[in-house]
Symmetry: C2
Subunit: 205 residues, 2 copies
Amino acid sequence: MTIQDSGTARPAGRPRSEKAEKAIIDATLDLIGEGMGVSELSIEAIASRAGVGKTTIYRRWSNKEDLVVDALSTLKAPLPPLSGISVRDDLISLLDAMRKEAGQARTRCVMNIALGEADRYPRLMERFVKRAVEPRRQALRSVIERGVANGELRSDLDVDLAMALFSGAMMWHTKWGPPGDLPLDLAERVVDTVLLGLAGERATS
Amino acid sequence: MTIQDSGTARPAGRPRSEKAEKAIIDATLDLIGEGMGVSELSIEAIASRAGVGKTTIYRRWSNKEDLVVDALSTLKAPLPPLSGISVRDDLISLLDAMRKEAGQARTRCVMNIALGEADRYPRLMERFVKRAVEPRRQALRSVIERGVANGELRSDLDVDLAMALFSGAMMWHTKWGPPGDLPLDLAERVVDTVLLGLAGERATS
């Protein structure tokens, strides 16, 4: 399907505009997912794949970097609703949202490629982190801090380290785990294992 | 320093050969570290940077992929000696080796770029994993299994999940932690936190 990029007036602008926007975002993600790095990506290639004119793209995004930040941000699942009752349950909800988004092959592929370019595009990654990563991180931090405050978690807990344990375990599975979907019960197992600890009866600590 | 690539006999082959090899490996890592992806890397560019002729490279590596696998493998620190006495101490030694190698800016940068290309170069990553990642993973698994067997760790522990927790926490700090060296006590804090668990007094599990 080709969306014409004419300069004429738009009688029903919004729907057509959204359709074009979606086609452009999809084209961007498809090209990255096929192995095209951000450096190789061109507005021409995106326009051609999306079936729109370059003008249509430039009307919404003034440069490639802005478009890539927007495209990557759409891969992030919305924050799940949190019960606010059990810290354990809220942690599982947050980690399960990570599991779901990481389970999609395209997401994994695109994120691997994009993150691999983080050093080459620091500003791009910085903006992506601010837009898409920080809100999730903040949600995780709030739940952990709630647990420390109400006694569900240890009062002497290093909150940053706790965040690294939860996120790192999910990240590890995305990166190094067997290919394909992550196990359905992964979030629950990670949370319960981290809460309980690994020490056995003979532990001396 | 330029190493000549003449076709003449080598009177003291070994030292000169090792010197050239090091220059070639360094040039490869430098170029990747400067942001050149594996796809953009050429034997020409490596030869030019290393100050050797292409023949010198092809005498040792039949293709670019072989050379990149070798170059990436040199970034891995050797496995640390393990006391074999305390599982906690051995875990800290293993994680501290990860901390040391991750702390080097060049290593972080090169690994980010190379891992970002994992989807484009599955065979390259597979070989790198087999050569450089698997031995470390096996060492970590052995220590955890020893802990399960001797009671330092819980008898019902999911060994794979435990590995993901330890490695994931270190990986998270490398990827998302503040730039610069990782904290000197990171390995110890990760191990002790994971062993003890996060649950507080009010925990219901």
